[in-house]
Symmetry: C2
Subunit: 354 residues, 2 copies
């Protein structure tokens, strides 16, 4: 198979972790006889520094021309503490999602048995958890009109959804539920929000086409609670952009660490694969970041964009083995970890490659 | 002291649990020589059934004339699954918050040592956690304009904040932080939302007046994660209406159960005290609900609205003792609980009274 992959390292720990995602892709290419070619491009703070634009035109053009995109992380503390900054790194990520029509963000909550103890949740609560989130990614309060009054004393964002936006992601989520645990939980705040009431109406309609899937509707506050209380009760979770952002980060604690979770954004165009974690500037450049989420992003890419299941499994198996051998990065180490087996980014990447 | 308290039982398990909140108030009145008088009023589904209105005029008038309000719970499954219902129980709660100017919702996350094992989080993660949430309660996407297009295919809610709304609750939160752990974490999504950028600007300004309090700004997705990962790191948490709704429900798992958490809504008018839990129709009328959150609401009322600290402490001590004696309701029982000590609503209420 011949595929062209665009690597967008982005900000903070992005470059460090994508290095290992890319290395694993190259290795898979060699081992399985695929021809993977690569290009690189800027986004976020890195894009602003080089061109003044968080999503340079060249990056977007390269993205559209590639078969899949491996992304690192975005954001910089400098903008976080300056609420009045007009140009912001995150705009690059939001714009590429919109431009490529990446309306469905899939976030599988994978649980490596070896990491049961790395979580703040009790192992017996966690064991057996297997959730696939479908987060809507190109609508909601993220993309609705933003306003600031002239005196700057009032600010607003429009939380808005249209029927077709809910339909297309609901269908994707139901299709996935059908070949998984046949349970779908749609999360909204329909007791307060009009956008959520439309969401619930549409999901109720789509649900009729999937009588083999059991549908549940849950309010976001309750879902945030149930996810900690009893994560096993979830199979496929379908939700809007903002609620999905919150719930999936929360759910990362189920997997022991954000450093273990990857996500796939798909829709109309090129698929986009990235870790769930952020740019983590506090540890950037220190060889401390966990590269496993980036490597898992590559596994998702192989499976979802290229249909290469065996190759994807090879990667998750390699990670599993590395963990079984006792190797950990700092974020997933616990009191029982052999200190000598706590690795930096490079050493961990190397171990998985081997 | 002479005080007039309005009891609004509301829906579902509301009537069962407020019965015990009220009983405890009466007992405190007797023991400490206060003259508490009571009245009762309808709200939510109960209000709709009786008058067609989720907040009957009579209820609002009585609320304004009282010194404090003890509320039960709101909501009915019937409306949850009918997104097109025009009249909804929750409107009653939202309207009374707005009408009474209850802009600050205080949600203390109390941790009874006896319940460390009832949580899904590991005891060592929990131990020592003591968080006070300040949730803004009369603004945000809850009260912004709601729209539905004529073809009903597009729906929106306006997420909106004005400077004064952020200022007044920020001041309350900083005042509280000053006499607690001197740390305040403000939660927003300023990397995406304009309303959050205003929020952050205002909090940064107010922070300058409280140099003795350490301020941190955190994105909501990260906060939802940190709350599970390391709840001890939080002291006072200040956040908007929607984010507060989500985070405090999530945080209820820290306390072992929603059945253990009370909240106080304060602002311009009469204080309003209620459990965090909902109407729980699935167990309503079965003598299964945990009355402790309602009893704790009464403790908050005594302390916050009436300044009666000793009386409030008497209540939390009584609960502590009851738990130490091994008594539990179903929601806070665990594998080690003596089956004979798992009590219903009535028996648990009675135990605390004794
Ligand atoms: C960086 C930020 C804009 C982004 C989001 O909120 O979508 C991130 O948190 C994510 O989840 O991918
Ligand atoms: C019932 C509902 C409208 C309410 C809210 O979202 O504010 C509830 O969840 C709460 O937290 O008090």
């Amino acid at each position: 198979m011949k595929k062209h992959i665009l690597v967008i390292p982005g900000d903070g720990i992005g470059p460090e972790v994508t290095t290992w995602g890319k290395a694993v892709l190259e290795k898979i290419g060699q081992d399985f006889g695929h021809e993977f070619t690569f290009d690189e491009a800027l986004m976020g703070h890195a894009g602003i520094e080089a061109t003044g634009n968080p999503l340079p035109d060249e990056t977007l053009a390269k993205a559209k021309a590639s078969d899949a995109i491996l992304f690192g992380a975005i954001g910089h503390i400098k903008y976080d503490n300056d609420p009045s900054a007009k140009v912001r790194p995150e705009q690059g990520l939001l714009k590429i999602r919109k431009e490529l029509g990446l309306y469905a963000n899939l976030r599988p909550i994978m649980l490596f048995d070896e990491l049961l103890d790395a979580s703040s949740l009790k192992p017996e609560i966690l064991k057996g958890t297997d959730i696939l989130f479908f987060r809507e990614l190109t609508g909601d309060v993220y993309f609705g009109e933003k306003k600031r009054s002239e005196d700057r004393n009032t600010a607003s964002d429009l939380m808005i959804y249209s029927r077709y936006e809910v339909e297309r992601i609901a269908i994707k989520a139901y299709e996935a539920a059908r070949v998984r645990g046949k349970r779908l939980c749609s999360v909204d705040k329909a007791n307060v929000l009009e956008a959520s009431r439309l969401w619930r109406e549409v999901v109720q309609e789509i649900a009729k086409q999937y009588p083999d899937v059991e549908t549940e509707h849950m309010f976001i506050d309750n879902a945030a609670m149930q996810l900690v209380k009893n994560p096993k009760k979830f199979d496929v979770v379908l939700t809007a952009n903002l609620f999905g952002d919150i719930l999936t980060d929360e759910a990362s604690q189920i997997a022991g660490s954000m450093g273990m979770l990857a996500s796939a954004s798909v829709g109309d165009g090129t698929g986009f694969f990235e870790p769930i974690h952020g740019s983590a500037h506090d540890i950037a450049g220190q060889d401390k970041a966990n590269p496993l989420a980036s490597i898992l992003s590559v596994a998702l890419m192989l499976e979802i964009s290229f249909g290469l299941k065996e190759e994807a499994k090879k990667i998750t198996d390699a990670i599993d083995e590395t963990l079984k051998d006792g190797y950990r990065t700092g974020d997933i180490a616990d009191a029982n970890t052999d200190k000598a087996k706590i690795l930096g980014t490079t050493a961990m990447g190397q171990k998985v490659l081997e």
